[in-house]
Symmetry: C2
Subunit: 143 residues, 2 copies
DNA sequence: ATAACTAGGTTACTTTTAGTAACTCAAAGG
DNA sequence: CCTTTGAGTTACTAAAAGTAACCTAGTTAT
């Protein structure tokens, strides 16, 4: 149970990594994984996608109240960038007061499914990570 | 091919999301997915994990030259935080000039496998995202 | 013997990005 | 005519990412 990657897997993994990393020269221009991860590196994007995943449509203030701690500006900025990438769609109804409904696009739902897979791994391993952090903290103390 | 999530899946997904989001109150304290994603939200962590995945051990400057564009400080900071979380291990040899070897821990290799899965999705869908961005850019122009 | 090189960092500084608080719009209700 | 409502902006501050120059201590080259 010590080794996660066995030698037979290693070669295939190395090939895959090479493809993911693209050639060294143009990491910034073509690397899809960087692009995708940059998308939810900021903490609000994940919550926004997950929250929108629960109900098919949500209005701005419904989202704001369900995503605990987000400010208006941060939610606006997050939604705009998700919309820009085609992960979230925004429907504006010309009413007063205004009504705007947000929902995941099919592409956004696809990403949601990936996030949930990652969440499964996270749930299984979070304790190992927390333990490691604690050990590291103790080591720091001594130094 | 339009709809990614069919109704039969919807309920299971909603349940999963609820678990992932934890209760609204303690998002900051317990949410594993936030913790995991926060880990490679910064752009260098992904590259570091992927690069370490290719070879079992790498020295500081080998890493630095393989991760195109990273500065010494950023690599140091990134490696320290990965080490803190138990994803990367750091072996120091008391020589002059110093030798320090970095490698993925089993936990880190587990995360690597997850990242590669995500990369598969990213590769399949990056064009849709780039197209959406272009459309959005054009819409902006008109406004 | 001193200048430059090495590996693996730090320190001090600058630029981006995240985040907060207060303001806007236009109509409806009191 | 003053407040409320929903969905945002604007102007500002705090925090994070990133850069450039420096450090250490022993080895080789001049």
């Amino acid at each position: 149970m010590e080794v996660t990657i066995v030698d037979s897997q290693r070669l295939a993994i190395q090939k895959k990594i090479d493809k993911v990393l693209c050639s060294k020269a143009d990491v910034t221009s073509c690397c899809p994984i960087k692009d995708i991860l940059a998308r939810f590196g900021d903490k609000w994007s994940i919550y926004t996608i997950l929250t929108l995943g629960k109900e098919e449509k949500l209005r701005f203030n419904e989202l704001k109240s369900q995503i605990n701690g987000v400010s208006q500006r941060m939610l606006t900025v997050t939604l705009r960038s998700l919309e820009e990438d085609g992960l979230v769609s925004r429907a504006v109804y010309a009413e007063i007061p205004p009504r705007v409904e947000y929902s995941l696009t099919p592409l956004g739902e696809g990403l949601l499914l990936q996030l949930l897979q990652l969440a499964d791994w996270a749930k299984l391993n979070i304790n190992q990570i927390l333990d490691a952090r604690e050990r590291y903290g103790n080591k720091e103390m001594q130094a």
